[in-house]
Symmetry: C2
Subunit: 345 residues, 2 copies
């Protein structure tokens, strides 16, 4: 047996001692170790910020975009935007399952899976870059990737379209936290009604039950309308969450002064920490999933307002998150149809 480091440190070519995410270059040539999974890769899903940046730089020309992707992967042994540092996830067919992998026992060559760890730390080599879908950031490729022992993956379900499943898997941590933390009778606040917010709303509405209350704060009118028509929230507040006092005033009103027991921040824009903090009751809990969250703005903001709230850094991984997220698509047909409508035909 040849075993690699659990976190992939054995694949780091430079700098020495770094972890794969921080590495400048990974070994993408060695065959999979006995605690790794090898994948024939069919598509990359590049994160929105990186895709948009590269797409602009390529003047929206697919050929130049393909060249840029090819060059990055050739140079780094992984797809990681050198400017933003972010990557994405991939879809592939299992080629090899290391015999030393406990979690891989029920996985076989030929199965379709999605990686749930970032491309920014995944060894990858590309033979070919095919069609590019700017609406979703999907890029068809032919290549080979390796997942480490610690690497997360999810089997693509046979009853759901791959691109729809991937959309849910991409934000699975957020509804996973909702599923594990929301209790009957609670008041739950969700800031931001994007994909993660919608999946959280479904879990929260289901779990608070008839004695609870689910509130969405979202500035986009169309999104608010969608949530109302899907019946995902009891109260929808159309407001800009960077206006902390105004949002808090409306949450006070909606909750009869009680404020939220649990809050989920999924805002994509910065500056929404204070609205969330002031809208949550003393000794309540806030889960920050928006990547625009600023650590010191949250820490100093809560202290400055004398608010004893428990603030959690949303971890993209919580055990079972993939199954929980996919199950939402099966449970809620109207939500599934809506999410499907966001995908290209």
């Amino acid at each position: 047996m040849t075993l690699g480091d659990r976190y992939g440190a054995h694949r780091v070519l430079e700098p020495t001692g770094a972890l794969p995410q921080a590495a400048r270059r990974l070994d993408n040539a060695s065959r999979p170790f006995d605690n790794e999974i090898g994948l024939q890769v069919s598509a990359l899903h590049i994160t929105s910020t990186s895709f948009q940046r590269l797409w602009r730089e390529a003047d929206q020309e697919p050929e130049r975009m393909a060249e840029a992707i090819t060059r990055i992967v050739a140079e780094r042994g992984k797809f990681q935007d050198p400017v933003t540092g972010s990557g994405g996830v991939l879809l592939g067919t299992v080629d090899f399952v290391g015999p030393a992998l406990r979690d891989g026992l029920d996985l076989s060559p030929g199965e379709r899976i999605a990686s749930l760890v970032s491309l920014a730390l995944t060894p990858l080599r590309l033979e070919h870059v095919g069609r590019i879908y700017p609406a979703t950031g999907q890029v068809e490729v032919k290549g080979y990737a390796v997942l480490f022992e610690s690497g997360l993956w999810a089997r693509l379900p046979s009853d759901l379209p791959e691109s729809l499943a991937l959309l849910a898997l991409d934000v699975a941590g957020a509804p996973g936290y909702a599923a594990k933390n929301v209790r009957a009778g609670q008041r739950v606040l969700v800031v931001g009604g994007g994909k993660a917010g919608l999946l959280i709303l479904h879990e929260a509405r289901k779990r608070v039950g008839v004695t609870g209350q689910v509130i969405l704060v979202e500035m986009d009118q169309a999104r608010c309308q969608t949530v109302l028509s899907l019946g995902l929230a009891d109260v929808v507040i159309t407001a800009d969450a960077t206006h902390a006092l105004e949002v808090a005033r409306q949450v006070v009103q909606a909750t009869g002064g009680a404020l939220a027991d649990l809050s989920f921040n999924c805002a994509s824009l910065p500056g929404t920490e204070m609205a969330t903090i002031l809208s949550t009751r003393d000794e309540g809990e806030i889960f920050f999933f928006g990547m625009a969250t600023d650590f010191s703005r949250a820490a100093l903001g809560a202290e400055g307002a004398g608010k004893p709230v428990r603030m959690v850094i949303g971890n993209g991984y919580t055990p079972g998150h993939a199954e929980l997220a996919l199950q939402i698509l099966r449970e809620n047909q109207p939500l599934r149809s809506f999410l499907n409508s966001l995908l290209p035909p």
Copy 2:
């Protein structure tokens, strides 16, 4: 009764709708409202980063430093470094206690208190700037300040020197979280042996008891020696916490592979998130108190390593934190002597 906003929004002169911390200018002239506290201010304790910046800019000349402080307060109606955005805390004598303040019922004019919310959001006017102590960032002043209804403060204890009490109050949130979260028999990791780290170590050592284990990771040899001689940790690992794999390897060794149940990150330098994440067991909990913590590095790092850890943004306020922090100084005479040695004579 004239009541101001609980969070001080009524004192914001510009921009409209902002909270005091984000405001460019506060009203420092109006007399205290009936839900405010008025203070005769005797000293400012400017946060280290801001003090050092201004001190350099003033070429270490006390007179120029005094001018800079005077100018900032005159322009903004509060002391907030325009570059770093941070402030500090103040010491003062109570002049007025608003009759509408529930929490102020046991506070009387003439008592000595410290503010526990940042100067960056505290209305202040200065008549005079006196002696400046570069070692601690203390500045003697004569002035007047106002605390809002939400503003935190602590009575200065009669049995402790003011500057020593302030040193503990300044980082009180961290040991407060330790006091509330550490249980008997746990393995507790502390990253960073500065003031906050030392107070946490005391609480953790006391609470884990004979069946628990307390581990410090600190790169400074002298600090490690201090912690050993004070008996504050069972294991001291002298290592640079930006080297995640090396630190995790040593924590694996120290815990017989079990890793930490609870970890506290109080590192002052950036890049120590991964060492803390990899050193904490699955389903364990991490409290980040270091202001160098990066939200996305923590969130994406834990996901990338497939680590289901619960990560908390350390809130500088948790109820009772001031009493808990001061009590440590009374309980641990050797630690108190050591902290006292950090202060100027």
